[in-house]
Structure formats: C-alpha cells, structure tokens
Amino acid sequence: MKRLILLLISLPLLSSCSDQWGWYVVDPTKKSGLANLKFLLSGLEQTVLMSFTAIAISMVVGLAVALPGMSASKGWRRFNRVYVEVVRAVPILVLILWVYYGLPQLMGISIGVFGAGVLALALSDSAFQAEIFRAGIQSVSRGQYEAAHTLSLNYVDRMRFVILPQAIKRILPALGNQFVYMLKMSSLVSVIGMQELTRKANELVVTEYRPLEIYTILVLEYLVLILMVSGVFRWLESRMQSDER
C-alpha cells in the first residue's frame, strides 16, 4: 500500500520532466481537475454494484450447475457438461452484446443496461464457478461422504455441513481469482453504455482529450479496488486456516 501511494505521488512529478503529461486535467487542487476526478470516481458505485451482484448470482448458479455434474445420473452430468462447455465458449463481450441487443428481440422484453450487464457477467462467470466448485467438492475425500452417509444425513445436510465447508476452504484462492477477473471484465459493459468506471473515463477523454492521464487514473482505480478484494480474500484464507489449527 505504501508503494502504491509513492507511485501515485511520483506520477505527477514525472510530468514535470516531460511535456507528454498534463496532470492539470485531474489536479485536485484545481477546481476543474477536482470536478474531473469526482466524475471519474462516480462510476465506482456502478462497477462495484454490478460486479458484486453478478458474482453473487454466478456463485449460486455455478453451484447449481456443479452439483448435477457429480450426479449418478448420466442425464444430469450431460446437462452440466453442455452448460459449462457452451457458456464458457462465448466471449464475455459477445455475450454482453447478445444479451443487450439480442435478448429483447428474442423475448420482447428490455432488461436495461444494468440488468443486461449483470446477466451477461453472471452467466459467463457461472460456467467457471461451476468448474471451480466441482473441483473443490471432488477434492473432499470419499470417507467424508461415507461418514455423513452412515450418520443418515440427507443430501442437503451432507453438502451444507460436511462437504461444502471443506470444499470452499480449498477453492477460496480460485474464487478470489474469479472475483478479480469479474471486476475487470465489468469494464466491458461500458460498450452498452453502462455508467461505470471505464465509461466515465471514456466520456472524459472525449471532452478533455487527455487519454494518458485519464486512463492512468482508471488503471489506478481498478488496481485499488482489486487490491482491496485480494486483501479480503487473503484475510478469509488466513481466518479459515486458523480455524483448523
């Protein structure tokens, strides 16, 4: 964190030794600069809200897709495979465009920019989440299932109290990865006009014509956001480790 602050301070200083930089555009001591900064940061809420909603949905859907993948029934396993392979094969940007422009035509309903963004991100992520959950659940030893079975726990209780707590602990690093990935991919939703971080930056670039400084701020915005998420996951991991010691 200290190094990050150092970087932030050193960037404007760099500008003095080169006329490539024009930090005045986001200089918080100037009135217009402060307004521009505020404008850039105003996309934060939408980015966070959309990503977090999409991730929450994709985890639920991912688990719901993962469980049939381990079913004894061939039909359920096939459903899991088809879902994962098909959804995983669609690029996120294509999925966003398809959901926003295609879905209203297909269903005759409009779900709005936010709805389309969340739906596309959640759908895309759910296939990856499903694979992560499946790997985690399968890593729990057979003996755990057998012990739960001999206690006569039903399927839901077996998963809820015995298997998933152990699986989630193991897949936490992978879930953190996916979380960060989704935060970044949410920038793609700017193409359909979502007023999030990237869209705000694009709009400001058009009016101020200082892409270097504005996109640098954008990079830093994502960096800070993602470092905070990583920090939370690191904390969760260490907490779950110490639970067992």
Binding site: S141, G143, Q144, E146, A147, A148, H149, T150, L151, S152, L153, N154, D157, F161, V162, P165, Q166, K169, D243, E244, R245
Partner: protein
C-alpha cells in the same frame, strides 16, 4: 450366544459384488442375530470390508439380497446402523462436540441442549469427556478413533460395524480403542468387527468368520475357531497372525 438371541437382524443371501473384473464377494450368505458379536478376519482383499459395507449400503450389490430387520420397540422402524472406519473419517472442520451433535440435531431433530447432553454421555463412554471443544487434528489417533466411536453411538445405533478400527493406529494406541470396544460389546449391542486383533476377538466374539477370495470359508464359535479350524487355509492364516 446366537441361540440365546434367536432374532435374525441381518440376513445376507447369495450376495455378489464385483469391481470391474475383480469379484469382491462371491455368493456370500450370512446371518447375524440380535446382540451377536461377530468378528470377521481374513487376508487383505478377501472381501471383509466390502461385506460390511454392503450391510449399510455403502456398496451396491450386483446379485443377492441384504435384509436388515426393522426394530420393533414401540411400533416398527428401520434399524439404525453405525459405522467406525479405519481412517476415522471425522469431519476436520468441526470440533469434537460438533462432530457428535451433527447427526442427532439434523437427523434425530434433537435440540442443541439435548444433543450436547447426549454427546457428553457418549464421550464419557469412550473416556474422553475433556476433549469436547478440540478439533480432530489436535487429538491423537487413538483419541480420534474413540471420538468416531462416540459419534456413531450418538445416533443410538441398533447395530454397529467396525471396519479395521485399529489398523491405522500406532501400536500404543490400539489398546485404548479396543478397551472401548470391549465395553461396548458388554452393553449388548449387535457388533460386526473386521479386525486382526485376535486377543480382542477371543474376549468378545460369539462368532468368528474367516473369509478368502470373496467367500466365507469358515464360520464358527471362537472356542472351535481358534482350537480346531476346519479349513486348511484358515489354519495357515491363524498360524501366521497368532505366532509372528
């Protein structure tokens, strides 16, 4: 002993179990009576573990029948079958107390207070009441296996199955587990143990079973089993494990 308890609680008829090409059980038939203590031994790969795992449905069978008699206490209900595993299979993320109360609370729908009272009584029976708040990994192997026994007891089983319960233990911990099992045997519960602990078998068994190649080769009371086994293969096996 079997004649004193004539009710058959487990009846297996012509059970076959195959793993790919390997025939783990080859037309096995076996009756277990209420309150009977049965010890099953035999070389590894002879089908002992598979046999008891067929009783509680951990393995599906390919032919034959496994019948477990319902219990007629007040009204009729399915018999509850507990199991103790070679590798303990405690839930590593739960404390000893949580391991013990999970079944009673979720399956028997006991309140937390009742479940914890029952769990404490079970821990008392396996002589480790002071370990309730520890995690399994903080316990020795012998203690873990005793927790596993207590966990089965918490479900108030009618029948309890032991699958080589002392095979994964250091030698100095075997006796503490066997002592608990002897105490359990004295309580009158129906017990089926897969084990090579012949000292234990002599103390508690009503019936000895020797298996080889997925078949029951010898089944007799311990007095006869240890002094005059009929099959040559069983004689050789006993000679090996009793005088090494």
């Amino acid at each position: 002993m079997a004649s004193a308890h004539p009710r058959v609680v487990i009846n297996m008829q012509g059970v076959d179990k195959v793993f790919g090409e390997f025939k783990a059980l080859d037309s096995v038939s076996l009756q277990v009576h209420e309150g009977e203590k049965m010890v099953i031994c035999g070389p590894s790969g002879s089908g002992k573990s598979t046999l008891i795992r067929c009783i509680n449905g951990l393995e599906d069978i390919h032919a034959g029948d496994v019948f477990v008699a319902p219990v007629e206490a007040n009204g009729s209900r399915d018999a509850r079958i507990g199991m103790v595993f070679q590798q303990f299979n405690l839930f590593p993320h739960l404390t000893v107390m949580q391991n013990l109360t999970l079944g009673p609370m979720r399956v028997s729908k006991l309140s937390r207070i009742d479940a914890e009272a029952r769990a404490r009584a079970c821990l008392e029976r396996v002589q480790i009441p002071e370990q309730a708040d520890k995690l399994p990994r903080q316990l020795s192997g012998g203690q873990q296996q005793r927790v596993a026994i207590a966990r089965s007891l918490c479900m108030e089983p009618d029948i309890i199955l032991f699958d080589e319960p002392t095979s994964a233990l250091d030698p100095e911990m075997i006796n503490e587990v066997l002592e608990v099992m002897v105490g359990l045997a004295d309580s009158g519960i129906t017990m089926i143990c897969v084990t090579h602990e012949m000292g234990f078998a002599k103390r508690v068994a009503d019936t000895m079973v020797f298996m080889e190649g997925g078949r029951i080769v010898e089944q007799s009371p311990p007095e006869k089993f240890f002094s005059a086994p009929e099959s040559l293969r069983c004689q050789q096996f006993l000679a090996k494990i009793l005088h090494h």
